[in-house]
Symmetry: C2
């Protein structure tokens, strides 16, 4: 394949490539490049947000490059030594091994197992002495570390930064030295740490790695970064029906973003779809094609077909009319109770009627019965709400 | 001995004791306290400035306490990993061993060898892993480190601080943990690092060490801190004549400071001397007594007597009058050539006459013939200058 074509694939959906000229030179060599991407073994449940990076790794794999899937177990074993962060307890070797297995089982739904090398940075970091760590720390200045956005902000606002936090980016950069990485992938929020790898490789006399950052995928709300704790995620181990339904619920605008970042369809195909929609094709059709692709990726094609059939049956059964009113409600940043949404959308006369309707099983959201009257909806949507057989509204929470 | 008396001896000549109440409690226990003092093995030639601390250790030894003489070889073996400081090359184990021997030979002119334990921090620090170093770094914040005067100043003036520089105070503090020190001694410039020991001991659940700081001794110029590189030092391996002569050359004011910090005579005796001088006694007599004490300490009493006799003979021979004019000359911070000093002090009519007199061997400084006409005098003094047999001046360079 031409370098230019390779480059187009590599850059697709990415945020930044540093430094393109260097990557071109590396590609010209014709050898498989060593592509590093680091993962934290603390959260084994992957969602679509994680797969943006993993897809890019797969694309690079398909271009013939060598993927180094790095599990950052060294720092995970240390945890947060200040003890202030209760959500980061140190993990034992056994826990990490178990997490890593769950992790890789999920990851190899996308990556080609045979072309992937799994590395644990404890295998070299555990051998490093305090003196080595001191020498590593000597390679950078305090001022350079405070250039990292979050460090700078915390320092200026008098929030404590423990000194070991300055060491972690160095450890991550040193991984690149040990791994002799040609390129490292990461989220845009990792740019500083990825550049550390470049700097340390230069310090150790190696050609510096290129850095490719991928944007952070928004959650189904279209507002916040996809995250398990925000509840706006689509987990890759969710059922075909869940994945399909959640993807069908995203706004048309967010759909294009998801397609760009998650679909393996060619850029030419995606361009054609856009033209078709602009010419009047229902975006829902594109969404269906895309949702089937994603379900098939994490389950299989039959499951995708079944999820589509179920989805359509539910909507047919529910007789969701083609044109239902669209309503935007302000959230003021706080999730809203479903019965208040129902009343504010004019679907019930009062909140007490709304609660009664939920209790009687007469309320559906996106085709599914709502049974929890304490359910809260966060900013996002649209949510297709149905009360009884005839009342519908498409609600967007702003 | 009463606690109060012990405390008076401990505090004599010191700058600060933290925290006195805690030390009193430790002394009340009646057990020998573990007293730590750390030394850098890079500069084996000790001068009187170093002995301020070593004297204090000796006094504590005489009070029955246990002296832990720590040689900071771990960091010396690392040197300056940034490579920016050419004066701090990493030292090999063999060099350190050799330096340590020279060191201790000199130190045991003051300390009681039998009551001293020599420790090398490499013996525990070399066993520390990178992970241990990270945990150690997690005990303190960046902001806390920037509270250290020199770090704060450098940060504010955009001078680089390498990150490992933040680790060295932690290493020094961790030494106190390993050594279970009850008290640590150091120069006033070490206060921050000594307090690290307190903080880390608390972190490791130990009672915190007390901290006793000693002032930095001025050099014979009475202006700058005594230092080999500034040339204003009195080395403890210098000849009896050199030590005696240099001590006799210091100003009367500086003499009292030296006596307070270096003499082993009792505070009562020193108070009596001061009263006598105030009542008219020649301070030179006190200076002679003190200079003999110091020479005897590093050589022996006979050598001290001989140095005194030589000194007096030289002055008699030189017929230095009792009252000679005192002249202060401005230096503007730069050392001045001796022939210019001679002219400016009015001892010669011109610089060419001054040069000629030096060449003819007709110029003496502090009773010794000046043979180097390119000699430069730095700020300080007084210098007793003599040209020919009759012209004298006591010159102070401001």
């Amino acid at each position: 394949m031409e370098i230019k074509e390779q480059l187009e694939i590599i850059k697709r959906g990415s945020d930044e490539l540093l430094i393109e000229e260097e990557l071109v030179d590396k590609l010209k060599s014709g050898r498989p490049l060593r592509i590093k991407a680091g993962f934290d073994p603390t959260a084994p449940d992957l969602h679509l947000g994680h797969t943006v990076l993993i897809n890019k790794m797969r694309q690079l794999q398909d271009l013939g490059h060598h993927i180094l899937f790095l599990i950052g177990d060294f720092t995970a074993m240390i945890g947060d030594p200040t003890g202030k962060n209760a959500t980061r307890p140190p993990l034992s070797g056994a826990q990490i091994k178990q997490n890593a297995e769950t992790y890789t089982t999920q990851v190899f739904k996308i990556l080609d197992l045979r072309k992937t090398e799994i590395c644990f940075n404890s295998s070299w970091m555990a051998k490093l002495s305090a003196a080595d760590m001191i020498k590593l720390a000597a390679t950078h200045t305090v001022a350079r570390m405070l250039e990292r956005d979050d460090f700078g902000k915390r320092y200026r606002s008098n929030q404590p930064i423990a000194i070991h936090e300055f060491l972690y980016p160095l450890v991550q950069g040193y991984d690149s030295v040990t791994m002799r990485a040609d390129m490292e992938l990461g989220g845009t929020d990792q740019k500083f740490n990825l550049l550390m790898g470049r700097e340390l490789q230069k310090h150790w006399g190696q050609p510096p790695q290129c850095v490719l950052t991928m944007p952070l995928l928004e959650g189904v709300d279209g507002v916040n970064k996809m995250s398990k704790s925000l509840g706006n995620y689509i987990g890759i181990t969710e059922s075909p029906e869940q994945i399909f339904g959640k993807l069908m619920s995203v706004s048309d605008e967010l759909m294009w973003r998801y397609i760009e970042m998650l679909s393996f369809d060619s850029l030419a195909t995606i361009r054609r779809w856009k033209q078709e929609v602009e010419a009047g094709r229902n975006p829902r059709d594109v969404k269906v094609t895309f949702a089937r692709e994603i379900v098939a990726r994490f389950h299989n094609r039959a499951a995708a077909d079944k999820a589509l059939a179920n989805f359509e049956a539910r909507f047919k059964q529910g007789e969701v009319p083609e044109n239902i009113p669209e309503i935007t409600l302000p959230t003021e940043g706080e999730p809203i109770l479903i019965y208040q949404v129902l009343k504010q959308a004019g679907l019930t006369a009062s909140t007490s009627e709304a609660i009664r309707m939920i209790e009687q099983g007469g309320v559906k959201m996106n085709g599914e019965k709502v049974s929890d009257k304490a359910l809260k909806l966060a900013a996002g949507g649209p949510f297709v709400l149905q009360v009884g057989k005839r009342k519908f509204a498409k609600v967007l929470l702003s």
